[in-house]
């Protein structure tokens, strides 16, 4: 799973699912969804923001915040440095103010290119601040998750981020505000067991792996092979844990529709329908 390649700059890319060669340009045109089989390649957080938020609307929060090796964990300083270089980002989540279909939201987008989206103190802090900002300014929150879970290299302090972010989500929720989560491949561990599963509305991209314990850990524990599609978005939909599976190309419109229905502007004072419909 960690070995899944990001799309190189080459002209042709082989789809890992249908094995067909796809023109890079076509793939990019199609938001990195395979035009032949519909496989959703992982995409970087910045690209996610570009295809989700209204053009030019994104105002980033806490862009400079970076992690330190607080518990002096072996090799973590080097790993952090590499993650910054490889992803071009300072942390595993980007947060900020944006609008989607004209509706203002606080938007958080996790980044699989930064230590597989693992949650450290800064990840938790940025998400917590984003929720606190949204609570104060009475805004909905949209979070795109992708994560291998809590960041082992920060020890217990990474685990505490699960409680911290959950507290901020709860305060936001108690103010009657909307929180939409969009689960993307893969969302696992401590992120699944905290803010990913705390949305009022939980959407997912097709075929995304969504799990508390990853498939390998389970196979090791129970010593048997798992059924195909176990822990896929479609499996979770069937089990009742997510609201809808939405293809990438429809995500922006779906979010806009949901935001509009929560905006309180569907009916005007005279009872006439809003013109935006």
């Amino acid at each position: 799973m960690e070995n899944q390649p990001f799309i190189p700059d080459e002209l042709w890319v082989k789809c890992p699912v249908c094995k067909n060669p796809v023109l890079s340009a076509d793939l990019n045109e199609n938001n990195k969804v395979c035009p032949k089989c519909g496989y959703h390649f992982r995409i970087a957080a910045r690209q996610r923001i570009r295809i989700t938020a209204d053009e030019g609307s994104f105002r980033e929060f806490d862009a400079e915040m970076t992690s330190e090796n607080v518990i002096d964990f072996p090799d973590y300083t080097r790993k952090l440095k590499n993650a910054r270089i490889n992803s071009g980002e300072n942390e595993s989540v980007i947060t900020g103010l944006a609008s989607i279909g004209g509706y203002p939201v606080v938007l958080c987008v996790m980044n699989s290119q930064f230590m597989m989206g693992s949650m450290g103190r800064v990840t938790g802090e940025k998400i917590t601040r984003a929720f606190e900002y949204a609570t104060e300014n009475k805004l909905p929150v949209v979070v795109f998750t992708v994560s291998g879970g809590a960041r082992m290299q920060e020890g217990i302090l990474s685990l505490m981020q699960m409680a911290k972010t959950s507290g901020a989500v709860k305060r936001h929720s108690d103010e009657g505000l909307l929180y939409i989560t969009v689960l993307t491949d893969p969302t696992t561990g401590g992120v699944t067991a905290s803010f990913a599963m705390e949305g009022d509305i939980i959407l997912s991209e097709p075929k995304a792996l969504i799990a508390f314990a990853g498939p390998r850990v389970i196979e090791q524990t129970i010593r048997q092979k798992l059924p195909k599609d176990f822990q896929s978005a479609e499996f979770l939909l069937d089990k009742g844990f997510i609201d809808a599976v939405v293809p990438r190309g429809e995500m922006r419109d779906t979010l806009t529709k949901i935001l509009r229905l929560h905006s309180g502007e569907i009916l005007t004072e005279e009872g006439e329908t809003d013109e935006r419909i």
């Binding site: 020890g155 505490m160 959950s166 507290g167 305060r171 067991a193 599963m197």
Partner: protein, 256 residues
């Protein structure tokens, strides 16, 4: 004593489990309640109500079992989603009847299996974290053995968290950490050091409020003094108005 000595002690078969604590502290006053009202009764979680120094309390524990048969029945203290949902049900009941909640934590982690995933292990833990943060009654969590990751935290979003001297609390098992870090799950001792999982480490990191000294042979003096400490703490927390209690709880976790 090394970090790995603590890991060994925390997992020792003769270590008192949640049932021992409940029996020694609450005696005959404990009444066990079962089930999550949704799916099943998870025996890895024991819960109910009891009397503590003249007052009613809700008691919840992650129970590993004290012999092989019990361990099988208790799934070695690894709860399924229904266990966390039972715990939350009892906590909500505690809120309704204005009694404080005490949790005894001892688990290598939430269970990793097909049923656990199918029934939403992640969702169950997440819900506990969220709901415990604003539960309008005092919560105290005591780590008596192993505190394995999210499965332990799901009973530890509390006003105070204490640890027995040789208990451990970690984001990942030392074995898991070693196999990721060095592709060698036998390097448990080194990983135990790296993770900062002992009571001393966690006290230094500000993750726990108190370390409970363990005598060589656990005796009634330890349980008696623990009982007094718990009662005093509930008196102290019970004296706060609800808003203050919840503000302090939020800030307790906000600071990390």
């Amino acid at each position: 004593m090394s970090a790995f000595d603590s890991v060994t002690a925390a997992r020792a078969n003769d270590r008192p489990t949640a049932v021992d604590y409940i029996t020694r502290i609450f005696g005959n006053s404990f009444i066990e309640f079962h089930g999550d009202r949704r799916f099943a009764d998870d025996k890895a979680v024991i819960g109910g109500i009891a009397e503590l120094c003249g007052k009613a309390v809700t008691v919840i524990g992650l129970e590993k079992g004290r012999n092989l048969n019990e361990r099988m029945e208790r799934n070695f203290g690894s709860a399924h989603p229904e266990g966390y949902r039972k715990a939350l049900r009892l906590m909500k009941q505690a809120e309704k009847f204005h009694r404080p909640v005490i949790c005894f934590v001892d688990t290598s982690g939430a269970y990793c299996g097909i049923g656990a995933e199918e029934r939403g292990q992640g969702q169950a833990i997440a819900e506990n974290l969220m709901e415990m943060m604003t539960l309008k009654t005092p919560i105290l969590s005591i780590f008596i053995g192993e505190g394995g990751s999210g499965g332990a935290l799901a009973l530890a979003v509390a006003d105070e968290v204490w640890m027995l001297e040789n208990a451990i609390y970690s984001v990942i098992s030392p074995e898991g950490c070693a196999s990721i870090l060095w592709k060698d799950s036998s390097k448990t001792a080194e990983a135990s050091e790296c993770l900062k999982l002992t009571s001393k480490d966690l006290f230094k990191l500000g993750v726990i409020e108190r370390i409970i000294r363990e005598p060589k042979n656990v005796d009634s003096i330890m349980f008696d003094s623990l009982k007094t400490l718990i009662a005093q703490t509930f008196d102290k927390l019970g004296g706060l108005d609800t808003d203050t209690l919840l503000e302090k709880r939020y800030n307790r976790f906000r600071k990390y």
